[in-house]
């Protein structure tokens, strides 16, 4: 059944957005079966709530929001990861510009997987959805300061895992900080 406002039905949503939704799900979950489960769950929810979609242009963002909620709800049911497990190095911007091909995809996902879910979500929203920090705060209904702090720490952690600690022109070494 099609949405009256957008004229879109769920089959169209699947055809148009299943790849983007799956990629997003994979970045959040880190495994193929879990990503597929999460993708299917998101589309099941979309099917139930299709009437809530206001505009065709916002369909992808709407699906991403459903996906995030499904992911966070599922994570809440599991044992929480201790945030203090993640140690961040403050000085982790590589001196040399990494080429796109040099970013190891497995290493990237491994680094994302090590982040606690609240940090992972803001990181994926920033890099995958290319949201601004204000958009992230609005969509997650979090204070801007919280988003800035989580995002900055998650980004530094990601770089530390991918590129290691290297000196940079503007920063000197500082002690590591725990999340």
């Amino acid at each position: 059944m099609a949405n009256e406002r957008t004229g879109m039905d769920v089959a169209q949503l699947v055809a148009e957005f299943h790849q983007a939704v799956y990629r997003y799900a994979f970045r959040l979950t880190g495994s193929v079966p879990d990503a597929e489960d999460l993708t299917q769950q998101a589309f099941l929810t979309a099917q139930e709530k299709l009437g809530q979609l206001r505009r065709q242009e916002s369909a992808q963002g709407w699906l991403f929001a459903i996906l995030r909620n499904c992911f966070l709800k599922a994570r809440q049911r599991r044992r929480p990861t201790a945030a203090t497990n993640v140690r961040l190095d403050m000085d982790t911007v590589p001196a040399e510009m990494p080429r796109e091909a040099e970013i190891d995809r497995d290493q990237l996902q491994e680094a994302i997987d090590r982040l606690p879910a609240p940090f992972r979500v803001v990181l994926v929203m920033f890099y995958f959805e290319e949201c601004s920090y204000r958009q992230i705060a609005e969509q997650l209904d979090l204070p801007i300061g919280t988003v800035m702090s989580r995002l900055a720490r998650a980004k530094r952690y990601l770089r530390s895992r991918l590129f290691g600690s290297q000196p940079t022109p503007a920063r000197k070494r500082q002690p590591s900080t725990a999340v």
């Binding site: 988003v147 800035m148 900055a152 022109p169 503007a170």
Partner: protein, 275 residues
């Protein structure tokens, strides 16, 4: 002259989260950062460098291969959910709706009779629908359907503890297959709604608290099922799941495994010495 390290965490955070192409720099919250960037060329170079790293990372984040046939599996799952809802609605309506419009101001006796008749009719209707659904599902399973539905069932199941096989024996009428490896920590539990049947599920443990595979055992005969034991390779391997089905007398065994062929093989009992 060597630059001084930036120690103001607010500036460092702003530096990380600010995206110039989104006009974040004109945001009042970024005023301090904008001021620092204007005043410190080295910080500006660092910032520009960070933006390029972020752009490369954004590209890398998008680089995820999508499994083949995903769209069709989603469509199938959505159709199954719609069918389930429709069946549930029919059952609900037949059991809830009065058999006849209520007469105006019935007496207590006639109301009781009306309720009894309505109850009888709705129960009969519900049983009829359930029987039709049951007969339909029992007679239309073939091997591909079994494998697909089993993976679907497996992926939808919430984690359930079950009984440790080492602590408590399962009911004898649904035994675990001798061809499946009895891993320490294997658990069994009762299931319903698997291919329309009740039966047992044996959960093979993975890392931590996870389940890496489940063997479903139900009393069901499946048309044209070729195997009497698990085949050496899974009959279905897609979307991160492997599955195989075999018929042993009246019992249908379906093994669903997270992962690929190697994971599937890990779940099978090792073959004895060839004689």
């Amino acid at each position: 002259m060597e630059s001084q390290p930036i120690r103001d965490e607010r500036i460092l955070e702003a530096l990380e989260v600010c995206r110039p192409q989104r006009d974040d720099l004109s945001d009042p919250a970024m005023a301090d950062l904008a001021e620092q960037l204007d005043a410190t060329p080295e910080l500006k170079r660092f910032y520009d460098h960070l933006q390029r790293v972020d752009a490369e990372l954004s590209i890398a984040f998008q680089d995820v291969p999508v499994p083949e046939g995903l769209a069709q599996r989603i469509i199938d799952r959505l159709a199954a959910a719609r069918a389930e809802q429709a069946a549930a609605r029919v059952l609900y309506e037949t059991s809830e709706a009065p058999a006849t419009p209520p007469a105006a101001q019935p007496t207590h006796g006639s109301r009781r009779r009306l309720l009894a008749v309505a109850g009888l009719l709705s129960t009969t209707a519900a049983l009829l629908v359930a029987t039709l659904v049951y007969l339909h599902t029992r007679t239309t399973y073939d091997e591909p359907t079994v494998l697909r539905d089993a993976v679907d069932f497996f992926s939808r199941e919430a984690a359930q503890p079950g009984h440790l096989l080492s602590d408590r024996d399962p009911p004898e009428d649904h035994p675990i297959s001798r061809d499946v490896r009895r891993l320490p920590g294997t658990r069994w539990r009762e299931i319903s709604g698997f291919l329309g049947c009740k039966g047992l599920a044996y959960d093979l443990p993975g890392h931590g608290d996870t389940v890496k595979a489940t063997l479903y055992v139900v009393k069901l005969s499946v048309k044209d099922l070729k195997h009497a034991a698990p085949p050496p390779l899974p009959q279905r391997n897609t979307g991160g799941y492997c599955s195989a089905a075999w018929q042993n007398g009246r019992l249908l065994y379906v093994l669903v495994v997270r992962g690929g062929e190697r994971d599937y093989d890990d779940c099978l009992a090792p073959l004895g010495p060839l004689t």
